[in-house]
Amino acid sequence: MKRKNPILILSVLAVVSLLGLGLLGRTNHRVEKLRKSSLRARIKSISYVDSLKSPSGNDSEPQSLMVKLKPVLSGMDVKTLFQSTGFAEIEPLYDNVYRFQGKDSLVPLNDLMEQLRNNPAVELVEKDVVVRAMEVPNDPYFLYQFYLYNHGQTLNLTDGTVVQPKSGADINVVDAWTFSKGSEEVKIGVLDSGADYNHPDLRNKLDAGFNFVGNNAYPIDDNGHGTAMAGIIGASTNNGQGIAGICWNCRLIPYKVLGADGKGNYSNLVLAIRRAVDEGCKVINMSLGADEPSIILEDALKYAYEKDVVILAATGNEGKGSVCYPARYSSYVLAVAATDENDLHASFSNHGPEVAVAAPGHMIMTTFPNGQYALVTGTSPATAVASGVVGLIRSLKPFLTAEEIFKILKYGSDDVNKALFPGIDIYLGWGRLNANTYVAPIKVE
């Protein structure tokens, strides 16, 4: 038998390969007023407190399609008609609407969708979107925590005031809890007036701290401000009692730097920052501020930042155009402004170029000493809200640096005042926090 020319045969094989390759390429592709803190103190706690009467008491990718066929097809054998489309199973839902199961199909669901859209027998094709149970905590006051979950619920205060917040003006944390509820590994230092260690919503969350005012190991809260901030950040959640904290599982360490009058001084603040860092806090909440700069204070903040600690501080409640210290040290500190229940810049919230982000700070339901609960207002609670959110991020992604977390808050926040001030602005910084954007996987298309 005479042999054929091998070069000719190989050339034919190569051409066949290239033609086949081209074909392959084409086939495959979200009170009663109890107390007002002194706001003009050298260091002051930044919130008003109002109390509320106690009431008694991710495999989310669709795998199937919903297809509506044109009425003319009723009574026809739909399975036979669509046999060749690559769906593993076709089942009737009602009338002319069917579920096309694409789970075991070799063709991507988007391609199958496109195929069906081009089919003249098909009226409508939709993805069979996966729904999931929303994990809402069972804490009875959660209803009042519209900063966490605002669906436009009505809030009736004991003084007869009725508050009707704007639906959606919240930090979107309920969705975020699907991905992070915090970790016991993450310690949050609360530099404030101490905390109520006996509060039923806090006693299981507080670790031993320090009292810099009394220079002892008992940071007992004789003011109420620190207990309020601690509750916002991480009150016991889903315990059928009181409120929900933002960072369910984070540990809280109170460092008392404010006295019974809500005032303190920089020297104790500096000591507390350094101690919190040295005791392993990865987040420091400072719902306090003053108008004077301090190089020693700035050094302490730098020390914390360089040890990869995220520091958050309140911008101040005077409604003026300058941000308080330490929030003003924006190289090391995230300055947190306040929004109200309608996602608007709160009138009392100081503004300035140092503002990084904003969080709800009006009528924030939280813990108060002696087992009580209260509504607090100011950039203090806004800062505590932000600290809780940072706790969630640090728990889920412990490998992120403080600088990266700054950027995540910056780029992932909701620019709620973009109609007036698109992008970064002096009122809300990069925008109001959106916890879900920081922790939930973002779908790219």
């Binding site: 190569a14 991905f179 992604k397 780029y411 992932g412 298309e445």
Partner: protein
């Protein structure tokens, strides 16, 4: 092509010097394979599908030992969405398909004989290098980019038996153990924020079945067809010219 043929002969000369019957085969093959995988860090399951068109060269010694190399173009498809949980912002990509390069090598030996069957085995390695796929990351304030770079490969160890029928048809079959390896490297860039995350594949040797047939037409053209069932199915068809 002639130079390549001479180069191949020089390369394989030491292996083949003592052989009494030496055949060199040059041809083309097409294959499709779907392999279930699991990612190490997330435990998420997925399926990688590879469609390959390649040119191949083999040396067959004494009809007992065969060494093959192949190279060509691959179309890799990642069937399900992939979730990257670590990069600064977590990302979930849709399923995606990319074209790229393919390299393969195999060694086969049938040194034993039992009741008219030749017994032996095959070790085979395949490497797929698809190009990267990118998507926009849309946040409320800024827009960024996410890029996925898959590299995927598989090594299979097959225990085979074969028999040549009177009509010249060679039938073979046996057990296959497939080890997948590789990763999808994710890179996120949003303004001055960036991060990388490698999703490594953690498959252990997955057992399966393989069977095929081979037929020489007029002693210069060989057609080989093979099917495999390793959790999911695969097939390969090759046509070679025998020198």
């Amino acid at each position: 092509m002639r130079k390549a043929y001479i180069f191949l002969l020089i390369l394989l000369f030491p292996l083949t010097a003592a052989a009494s019957d030496l055949k060199v085969l040059v041809g083309a093959k097409g294959s499709y394979k779907a392999v279930p995988i699991k990612f190490k860090s997330t435990d998420a399951k997925n399926t990688v599908r590879n469609s390959v068109l390649a040119l191949s060269a083999s040396v067959e010694v004494d009809e007992t030992y065969t060494f093959s190399l192949s190279g060509g173009i691959d179309f890799t498809s990642v069937k399900d969405p992939v979730t990257f949980t670590k990069v600064p912002f977590s990302i979930v990509t849709p399923s995606f398909s990319k074209r790229g390069l393919y390299l393969g090598a195999a060694a086969e030996a049938f040194p034993f004989e039992l009741s008219g069957f030749e017994l032996g085995g095959r070790i085979r390695g395949d490497l797929y290098m698809p190009s990267s796929e990118s998507w926009k990351v849309t946040l409320r304030i800024v827009e960024g980019q996410f890029k996925a770079d898959p590299t995927y490969g598989a090594v299979s160890v097959d225990l085979l038996g074969r028999k040549k029928l009177n009509n010249g048809l060679l039938l073979y079959g046996g057990f296959s153990f497939l080890q997948s390896f590789g990763k999808i490297k994710g890179t996120e860039t949003i303004e001055d924020l960036s991060g990388k995350e490698d999703l490594k594949i953690k498959n252990r040797f997955v057992p399966g079945l393989v069977s095929g047939l081979s037929y020489d037409f007029e002693d210069y053209l060989r057609l080989t067809a093979e099917a495999s069932l390793i959790n999911t199915w695969g097939m390969e068809l090759s046509l070679s010219y025998i020198f």
